[in-house]
Every structure is written in structure tokens, then in C-alpha cells.
Amino acid sequence: MTREALYERLNAVFQDVFDDEDITVNDATTSADIEDWDSLEHINLVSAVEKEFGVKFTMGQVVTMKNVGEMVDIILAAIG
């Protein structure tokens, strides 16, 4: 999957979880950029992303991800 195609699906997940159709994310997006993205919603987000791409993040990955770009790197590495 290309990075662009992945982002298209990822945007849809963000839009669902935060119930806001205007959200688009990029490599530099962090929780500070999305109003409802607090530690509690983060759980749902991670879970929904895992489901969407059929991947499972390890604890180590979840705690060290700095921005959306790093999440995308991990997904791409997992699904090729």
C-alpha cells in the first residue's frame, strides 16, 4: 500500500472516532492538533486503527509514537 492510500483510510478512521468529517491528518499531526484527542480517546483511536489495518501495536510502540507519521511508519512496516 502506498503512503497516500494509507492516509486516505487513516483519515476515515480519525473522522469516525472524533465524529468530525473535516479532519485530515499528516505526518506531523499530534494529539495537540485535534481538540477531542485526549488520553481516553487515544485508546479508541489506537484500537480503531489496529482494526482498520489488521495490525496489533505492541505496548512499546504505543508509548513511543510521537506523531501520526510514526504510526504510519509502523503500519507500513507491518503490512508492507
Binding site: V13, D19, N44, S47, A48, M59, V62
Partner: protein
């Protein structure tokens, strides 16, 4: 909402929670507001979020109090002004094996383990007692799920030092408390986690990352289970099944294949599946679910199928059997009318997806499970929680017989020209007395279930009913009615409180199963007598209109009350100065004989 019916897509619910909530709130339905305190021993955020959805789906609009992280015990035990001000209707205690502070260790003696068990139990028991004294409301308590690892392997279950042994024994103590205390309900997460798969349920990722005691995707299963208990407490269980016959209760089509070729009984695998299903349905009847049939068949063939020697269900197990060629939507609607229950109290079970769709779209509120293939029928019906049992009263066990007796009465009524003669022929015997301990559960159940013949639609928990009964300034009456066809059980409830020399009616309700039997007049006669004995000279009646109680709009007028005031919402206040020489209105029921 389809998305919230079992079997649901948990990932979808979690992901779409916000938009599902919006859609539910925008559907214009009228919901019962309830205040729910969730006292957690671990994170509860998403549990509450999803619980809200299921409750909205069940017609309950919840507001929540959520304890600070893992503060369940402190919140319950110490002065808590916020919780007191919140005044919960229900308290849910979400604890798990992560909240066990101390387990037995290998060096412990049997007496040490026993002490530890008592200590662990007491920690919870004192909290439950405290909550009961302070809040007088139902409490829902998780039992303990198994840990995700076994230090002693298989020995964990039998050795007193094993955690599995310890948790099982602790759970048994919880159940003992539940047996001894009304209004205390176990939320069985041991069963839930087993169904879900313990490895996934107990995934330590979610504990160490977020302090969730279960994995996130299992939360809808947990919240659904809690919602089922809550809706059952508030009388929102279903009451009756409407079952198809061909390929639902047996394999094959009786009209085409003939009775002798139906698959039912122990001869074939499919026959066994249908036998097990029939046995399950028969057990539903034993706990008070009314069984009915809607089948496209000649009646003769339908009855022949139900007489199959290997079948567990027989024609007499059903209250109403509709076997004809009318559309099922008509038959199902007629069944609701004849049973005198709302359509939304029915569950429609049919193997044919087209019939299911007709009922789902054509009839308001009838539950229509996607029952899957025959070997899945039991699981789907069972897990859907339609008939979640919170109180099993004697009435529940006899319900089918009571409704059948009602249909017999109707037949007899048709053979009488004069209605009063008919009523006399029923040889009715009433018991009308202040609330008594053995009926508290049934009385509370009635206040939550009765919608039509209900003047104020005030809902009471069992604890509130018990408080009313113990209060000297409150007059309470329950009415029980028997006749020659059977015992209807407790069917009417009246509660009023004294202010100076007037009695203000907080509640007056009657079950529709005894409409037009003059029971309401017998209640009035006894109420007047009780007022006179208490020195009360006037009764004040209140009628608050709802979508369902139009039938009692003029009730107080009929009883001889005078209208005192009315507001623009249609709320009316009535007064009845008790005459010196009150004449009893009821002449057909022998009361307290």
C-alpha cells in the same frame, strides 16, 4: 437501533459511539431518566460511554456519576457530598480480579487462607451495607473473572492456595449476599469473559497501558450485560415470544412433509438440535415468558406438528396459536392485543428472513433477532437478554396460566347478556391490604411495568416500596384478585401520603389483565375505609398524562372526585371529600373474606 442488538459489532460501536449517540437522541423517543453511579476499581470511561448507548436504546436516558480512577471503595465508604447530591437510582460497582489486594501464598495454612477469604469478602460487604443504608437503591456488583495465568496450572482450581480456588470461593460469598439481599445484583463477568475468551478479555496490554481490567473490544459485551440488568430492574424486559413453527421449532414443513417426517427428537442430528431448542423454549415458559405461535399453516397441521410424540412443546404450552394464511404482521399485532400487552413486549422468532423484515419494518418495537441457523437459535435468543431475570416472583412462574385463564373468561363473557351477571359468575375474591413483605418484589415490579392504567406513572425501587410501607404517614394498599379460573396475583397498587387531614395520592395503578372487573372500585372502598380509620377527611387525586395512560384520564371523575385544577400539559388535580355515609361501590368482589 439494529447496531445495538445482539449480535452486535463491538468495534463499530466503539468507533462510532459519538454518531450513534446523536442518532439515538434525535429519534424523538420518550425516555425514562435514570441516574447511574459507576464506582470503578479500574478505568471506566468507555464502559460508561457504551453503557449510555445501550440504555438509550432500551428507552432509558442515563446521567452518570463516575468515581475518580479506582476510588470505588473510598467513594462508597466516606462522606461524599457529590454522590449524595447526585442521588443515584442505581449504583454499579465495576471491580475485577485486579482489585484483589492480597492472595494466598504457598506458606499459608488452611486457617490463614480462610481468614484472608473473610477479610477480602468483608471489604466488599461493609461497602454494600453502607451503600444500602445511604442510598436505598439497587446495587449491581461484578463478580470476579479468572486471572489470565495459572501459577499452579490445573492445581489452581482445587488447591486452597490457588488463585482460581480463591476467586471461586470469594464469588460464592458474593452470591450468598445476593441471595440474602433484595436489590443486589451480580454482573457475571466470569461468564462473560469465558464467552469472550479469557486470553483476549484479560490481555494485560489494556491494563498496563490504560488501566482497563478488560480489553477494549470486550467493553460493549460488558456494557450490554449491565444495561440488560438495569432495563430489567426498570420493567423493560420482553414478556412474550411469538414463534414460527416450520424450520423454527422443528425441521421440515409439516403441511408438505407430514408429521411423521418432521425432524424432531433423537433420531437425527438436526432432530436433536430442534429438540434442544424446544426444551429451551419450554423452560422460558417456566420462568414466566408467554409462548405464542404465528405460523403460515392450516391450523390442523400446526396442531398435529405440536402433538409430535418426540416434541417437548405441546399445544397447551402456548397461550395463543395463530396458524393461518394472514400476513404475520397482522397475527403478531393481534397477539399483542389479545394478550393485552404492548407490541414492544414481544420477541418474534422466525427462520425466514423475509418474515423477519416484515415484522421489523411493519410493527413498532417488536424485537426481531437474527437467529442464524438452528444450532445458533438458543445462543442468540439467550444472549440477547430479552428476559434478563432480576426478580423471579411467583407470578412470573404462573403467568402463562393466568393469561390463558383470561382468554377463558373472555369466552365466558361472550355467553352472558348482562355484564354484572358475568362478573358475579366469576366468583371473584379480592385481598386488599397494606403492603406485606412477601409481595414487595411484585409491587415494585408493577410500579415499573404498568403504563396504561397508571395515574402518575411514578416508578419505585423495591427499597422505596419497603420505605413507603414502613412510613406511618403513608397509606399503602395492594390488591390481589382470584376467581374461579385462577389467581391473578397482585394486580393493583395504591400509595398516598398524609398532609394534615388530606391524603395525597402518589400512585394508583392496576394491571390491565383485570380491566373491567370492578377491582378499581374495590380498591377505592378499602382506601376510603383506611382513610376513615386514620382520621382523613379528603382524598386528593393526581393525573399526569403520558403517551400511554390516556385510558385513566377520567378515572377520578368516575370514582366521584371533583376537578380542582388543570394545567396546559393536561395534568389534573382532583378532590374527594369523604362522605359520612360512604357506600361501597364494588358489589361483585368478595374482599378479605
Amino acid at each position: 437501533m439494529r447496531e445495538l442488538e445482539y449480535p452486535f459489532d463491538s468495534e463499530y460501536i466503539l468507533k462510532k459511539a459519538k454518531s450513534i449517540k446523536k442518532a439515538l437522541l434525535a429519534d424523538g423517543s420518550n425516555r425514562m431518566p435514570k441516574k447511574i453511579a459507576v464506582l470503578g476499581g479500574s478505568t471506566t470511561h468507555d464502559i460508561i460511554k457504551v453503557l449510555e448507548l445501550f440504555l438509550l436504546h432500551y428507552g432509558i436516558e442515563p446521567s452518570f456519576y463516575e468515581s475518580e480512577y479506582a476510588q470505588y471503595w473510598q467513594d462508597a465508604m466516606f462522606d461524599n457530598e457529590e454522590l449524595l447530591a447526585f442521588a443515584p437510582d442505581i449504583i454499579y460497582i465495576h471491580t475485577s480480579n485486579r482489585n484483589i489486594v492480597e492472595y494466598p501464598v504457598a506458606a499459608d495454612s488452611a486457617a490463614d487462607v480462610e481468614d484472608l477469604l473473610d477479610k477480602s469478602y468483608e471489604h466488599f460487604r461493609v461497602m454494600w451495607d453502607k451503600l444500602r443504608e445511604t442510598y436505598h437503591c439497587p446495587v449491581i456488583q461484578n463478580n470476579f473473572e479468572y486471572p489470565y495465568y495459572r501459577l499452579l496450572g490445573n492445581k489452581e482450581a482445587s488447591d486452597i492456595h490457588g488463585r482460581i480456588s480463591f476467586l471461586n470461593r470469594l464469588n460464592e460469598k458474593f452470591y450468598g449476599y445476593a441471595r440474602e439481599n433484595a436489590n443486589f445484583y451480580i454482573n457475571d463477568i466470569q461468564y462473560l469473559s469465558a464467552c469472550y475468551g479469557l486470553d483476549r478479555w484479560g490481555d494485560p496490554f489494556y491494563w498496563h497501558m490504560y488501566k482497563y481490567a478488560l480489553c477494549l473490544p470486550a467493553i460493549p459485551d460488558l456494557s450490554f450485560n449491565v444495561a440488560n440488568i438495569i432495563k430489567s430492574i426498570y420493567g423493560k424486559n420482553k414478556k412474550a415470544l411469538v414463534l414460527d413453527l416450520d424450520n423454527t421449532l422443528w425441521g421440515g414443513i409439516v403441511g408438505d412433509d407430514g408429521v411423521e417426517n418432521l425432524e424432531i427428537g433423537q433420531e437425527t442430528s438436526m432432530g436433536q438440535v430442534f429438540s434442544e431448542f424446544q426444551t429451551y423454549i419450554k423452560q422460558q415458559k417456566d420462568i414466566g415468558i408467554m409462548l405464542n405461535v404465528s405460523s403460515k399453516n392450516e391450523e390442523e397441521n400446526a396442531l398435529a406438528g405440536l402433538q409430535h410424540p418426540d416434541g417437548t412443546l405441546k399445544p397447551e404450552d402456548f397461550v395463543i396459536i395463530k396458524a393461518n394464511w394472514e400476513p404475520k404482521s397482522k397475527n403478531v399485532a393481534d397477539i399483542a392485543t389479545e394478550l393485552n400487552i404492548m407490541q414492544d413486549a414481544l420477541v418474534f422468532v422466525d427462520d425466514n428472513p423475509a418474515e423477519r423484515e416484515i415484522i421489523r419494518t411493519g410493527l413498532n418495537g417488536v424485537a426481531v433477532p437474527e437467529i442464524g441457523s438452528p444450532e445458533q437459535y438458543i445462543r442468540v435468543l439467550d444472549r440477547s437478554g430479552y428476559f434478563e431475570v432480576t426478580n423471579l416472583s411467583e407470578d412470573d412462574k404462573n403467568r402463562s396460566d393466568m393469561y390463558k385463564a383470561n382468554l377463558e373468561r373472555k369466552k365466558q363473557q361472550e355467553s352472558f347478556g348482562d355484564y354484572k351477571e358475568y362478573l358475579k359468575s366469576l366468583e371473584m375474591q379480592g385481598t386488599i391490604k397494606p403492603f406485606e413483605p412477601m409481595y414487595m418484589a411484585r409491587i415494585a415490579q408493577l410500579t415499573n411495568k404498568s403504563n396504561q392504567f397508571n395515574l402518575t406513572t411514578k416508578r419505585y425501587t423495591q427499597a422505596e416500596i419497603e420505605q413507603a410501607a414502613a412510613d406511618d404517614s403513608v397509606i399503602t394498599l395492594y390488591g390481589k384478585l382470584e376467581d374461579k379460573f385462577g389467581d391473578n396475583g397482585v394486580v393493583s397498587v395504591v400509595i398516598g401520603h398524609k398532609e394534615e387531614n388530606a391524603l395525597h395520592m402518589d400512585l394508583w395503578l392496576m394491571s390491565c389483565r383485570v380491566l373491567k372487573r370492578d377491582m378499581e372500585f374495590a380498591m377505592m372502598d378499602t382506601l376510603v375505609a383506611a382513610c376513615k380509620a386514620a382520621g382523613i377527611t379528603e382524598i386528593k387525586g393526581y393525573y399526569y398524562p403520558t403517551a400511554k395512560n390516556k385510558m385513566v384520564e377520567k378515572f377520578y371523575e368516575l370514582q366521584g372526585f371533583a376537578l380542582e385544577s388543570a394545567d396546559e400539559q393536561g395534568n389534573t388535580v382532583w378532590r374527594y371529600p369523604i362522605p359520612e355515609n360512604y357506600e361501597n361501590k364494588n358489589q361483585v368482589i368478595m374482599v378479605n373474606a
